[in-house]
């Protein structure tokens, strides 16, 4: 729990505050950067905005004491996935300009649909809002460290882990096959 120093007269006292302001700031940053992904016109700017979302999410994970996941987030998402996105954006550099040549077929209708989905979700969400309060449980001392996660991954979750590895292998082979010019 965070503490803040309060001075009344000549008495100073450390008072616990029931929330983490850093977490709120990072959450707002993540949301604003997520808005940037859909509001920027140029794909490179959208991609950089997505990078900001990922980094603020990694900060949130650090604040929630999930260090291993934060590092994985930066390495895998910001380091690997986003680089592939950047490569593809560079590859299509001229084609992005052509988007203005064609008139959108159904964008306004889809926006209405998205707005309807949003309102429905907010309505169903608002009914549940009271059950979302409550203090966090006391965390185990090694929460979010590499060791307990690795132990759970290789002992309790061995089969899902192997299945995911197989999925990844198939994905790599499929991507290579689709990237070839002449098909076998």
């Amino acid at each position: 729990m965070n503490q803040v120093e309060i001075q009344i007269g000549k008495y100073k006292q450390m008072v616990p505050i029931p929330y983490n302001p850093m977490l709120w700031f990072l959450a707002g940053l993540a949301f604003v950067a997520a808005l940037g992904v859909i509001l920027y016109r140029k794909p490179v700017h959208a991609c950089l905005s997505f990078l900001l979302t990922l980094l603020s999410l990694a900060g949130i994970y650090l604040q929630l004491s999930a260090e291993f996941i934060a590092i994985m987030q930066v390495l895998v998402y910001a380091g690997a996935i986003l680089v592939i996105f950047m490569f593809v954006i560079i590859l299509f550099q001229d084609a992005h300009e052509q988007l203005r040549l064609f008139k959108a077929q159904s964008t306004s209708r889809l926006l209405y649909a998205a707005g309807a989905v949003l309102v429905l979700t907010i309505l169903s969400f608002a009914g549940q809002i009271k059950s979302f309060s409550g203090e966090p449980a006391s965390l185990p001392p090694d929460f979010g460290a590499v060791e307990p996660i690795g132990k759970a991954l290789y002992v309790d979750f061995f089969f899902p882990f192997e299945a995911v590895i197989l999925l990844f292998l198939v994905a790599i082979i499929g991507a290579l096959y689709m990237g070839k010019k002449e098909k076998i």
């Binding site: 977490l23 997505f50 929630l64 999930a66 998205a114 979700t121 409550g134 966090p136």
Partner: protein, 99 residues
């Protein structure tokens, strides 16, 4: 309070991703919005793992990360093939399967 803010953030990020997938026309931005939705689910996993002091939630985040990486590799390969076939990135122009 922190829990509530995290849930609302995750929900808003998912909504932004959904609106992007439904309304944007650039294929790559569309794909970025899918990643955004995956990330909002990840945030919820970590938040509840922290709330209940349970490590298993972090494990699922790990799995989601791997699946997102696989999806990015295959999806971008598909996008490149579509681009080779049509020379555009506008999803409205991809009407090869139109009946």
């Amino acid at each position: 309070m922190d829990l509530f803010v995290m849930i609302v953030t995750s929900f808003l990020m998912f909504a932004v991703g959904l609106i992007g997938v439904l309304a944007k026309r650039n294929t790559i931005i569309l794909f970025l919005c899918v990643e955004l939705m995956l990330n909002s689910a990840n945030l919820l996993f970590v938040t509840f793992a922290w709330q209940w002091g349970n490590q298993i939630g972090l494990l699922w985040v790990f799995f989601v990360l791997i699946v997102a990486a696989a999806e990015a590799a295959v999806g971008l390969a598909i996008i490149i093939n579509l681009f080779r076939a049509r020379q555009v990135v506008d999803v409205d122009q991809f009407n090869l399967l139109r009946g």
